[in-house]
Symmetry: C2
Subunit: 343 residues, 2 copies
DNA sequence: CTCATGAACTAAACCGAGTAAGTTACTGAT
DNA sequence: ATCAGTAACTTACTCGGTTTAGTTCATGAG
């Protein structure tokens, strides 16, 4: 009742293990007749190669790793990651690659997991997401010499390959749009301040506001942890301040929706009293009233792009170090309008 | 620049491979001093066990498989699966198990993937979701003799272990609530008709309506593919029919939200003209206006429960064949109210 | 008729661990 | 002094494939 091995096939076929190996792998060294016979017997016995044995000889694992530093329970609520994963999966499925997923509780553990997977030959490569300043993972991965693709801006990625999109461009587009609508006081409810892409968006935001003309546009940034609760809290604080902004740009859709609720609680009209822009466009943004103006990007395509890059890296194909995906584009919907009193 | 092996450690320590193996695995057969020395050297060299070599000796893969029959691109939009995965992950992460994920395009391929993973010793067990009538996967898994936990009702699971919750109870609760509100014509926009849980919910729905009294409650079921588009289409059809229902129960939240939009398009007031109930309670249900009355269940907990069951099965611990999780409970919100003209 | 060539194989080493069985060397009892 | 017992090892084989280095035999050229 044990699983058949090539030795079993060899015995049945009256040949050596080596001949069976050649036959099953389509290598020369066996006659057509013998090969056909061996294939028939292997099919009959229901033989499956044992990947452990193959891996021992340095074969590919046909698996890619993704360790996510995220409280597992909130994962399901993060459209971004889920869409990213589905995009990665779509690309991997074509080549019969699997995705090895593990949720970790900190970056030390994340490095540990990657070290183990790589050391144990269980993955051929991995993704790194949410880089922060002086990220220890970069050096750790470089030291491991494992194929890695950073999903995010190259600035902190060191020698690692990256796939990214120009968030600065998207922020600039948004600010210019709001300024054109007459807004002179714009707030940004941002994500975690340590993350590279938060910093970059922050800088671009400030720059874009300043570029509108000296002293013309007041700007303010509030940092959060991306949760709806924090988004609501910051919105409440912003809207209660004496110098209330007339437009708020949120770093994700969860916070934007929460912010919209807060505004409505405070009996403010959106967009007449307050314009709202969401970063990332999930179904969520479209079902609320008014539907949210959002920075849309094709996240699954982003993930697929990263997957292609990683697979090329693993295959040893020549790759450009850094691939720029399309930037997010602004989709105006009902949550933005002219600033009150402008014109 | 190659990875160190126990042979390298043995050479450095001046002992045999066997001694190193004993030392690293905490087995007797080496002195304290030698063990300490070997451990120090292994740390210094950054040795990691090669799981391929270990697996060859029959060790665990410390990985669980999940092949999902789903168009990968829509995965990110399915809160249910993402929450399920996050619940499974939460349980696995504690024991350093990883989750092997692959999206497949049909059940034949799903069986193929499982056969390969199991045959190749890459997973210790797997989940089966979305069982349908006469599901070929059940027999295939039984034949493989691989530890499997079916997530769903036991009726079609044959000899396989299951984790399920009583959807019938939840449906009954919903119908009784709507009837008490005066509704006499209730529709159900259901999921894929071939799925076991759809059938069971259908039956329970009809039964509950009939139990309200002979001929007292009109009921209607429309089957869809779970997408928002189909949900909207069916809603449009239902609301245009001469005998328009006063309440609709949807099989997921995506369709419920889409249905709400359709109702509002058709200038119907929710809940005055139409009551809406969603199955599964995601953030989506709470941000629309009015917020949706929903059948809530703790999906991550459900996934965690299934993961515990599978891990117990893998460990060879004694397990009950079928574990019943808590049923979904109805959370009334703004989308349900008394039927117009009742009382 | 002999030798070179190459196709079709076989035997055995190898990958990196685990482990059963065998070997030392030392301790303590008789 | 001798023997049993044991701690501390070593040796060698195992897992299931891949791969290298032969070996055998048929064929064709010289």
């Amino acid at each position: 009742m044990k699983r058949p091995t090539i030795a079993d096939i060899a015995r049945r076929a009256g040949v050596s293990k080596g001949a069976v190996s050649y036959a099953l792998n389509g290598q020369p060294g066996v006659s057509k007749a013998t090969r056909a016979n061996i294939l028939a017997i292997s099919k009959e016995l229901g033989w499956q190669p044992n990947s452990a044995a193959r891996a021992l000889n340095g074969a590919r694992a046909h698996t890619i790793g993704l360790a996510l530093f995220r409280p597992a329970r909130t994962l399901g609520m993060e459209p971004f990651f889920m869409e990213l994963i589905s995009g990665i999966e779509a690309e991997l499925a074509d080549r019969s690659y699997a995705l090895m997923l593990q949720v970790v509780t900190d970056h030390t553990q994340e490095i540990e997991v990657y070290r183990r997977w790589w050391g144990e030959g269980r993955v051929d490569g991995a993704f790194l997401v949410d880089l922060h300043l002086d990220d220890a993972r970069v050096e750790a991965m470089r030291a491991l010499n494992m194929p890695v693709v950073v999903i995010g801006h190259p600035s902190q990625a060191g020698p690692l390959s990256t796939v990214w999109s120009d968030d600065g461009l998207a922020i600039r587009e948004t600010v210019e749009y709001l300024v054109a609508l007459g807004h002179r006081s714009i707030a940004r409810v941002a994500g975690l301040p340590r993350l590279v892409h938060t910093t970059l968006r922050d800088q671009a935001f400030v720059q874009a506001c300043q570029d509108a003309g000296p002293g013309r546009v007041e700007h303010l940034i509030a940092h959060t942890d991306y949760t709806g609760e924090e988004g609501a809290r910051m919105t409440r604080r912003l809207l209660s301040s004496p110098r209330r902004p007339t437009a708020i740009v949120y770093d994700n859709d969860i916070m934007a929706v929460a912010g919209l609720s807060v505004a409505q609680e405070m009996v403010l009209d959106v967009p007449a009293d307050l314009s709202i822009v969401a970063w990332d466009d999930s179904p969520l943004s479209q079902v609320v009233r008014p539907p949210l103006t959002a920075l849309t990007r094709d996240i699954p395509a982003y993930g697929a792009c990263a997957a292609r890059q990683l697979l090329a890296l693993i295959a040893g194909e020549p790759v450009v170090l850094s691939v720029e995906d399309r930037p997010a584009t602004l989709i105006p919907r009902g949550s933005t309008g002219p600033a009150r009193g402008s014109r």
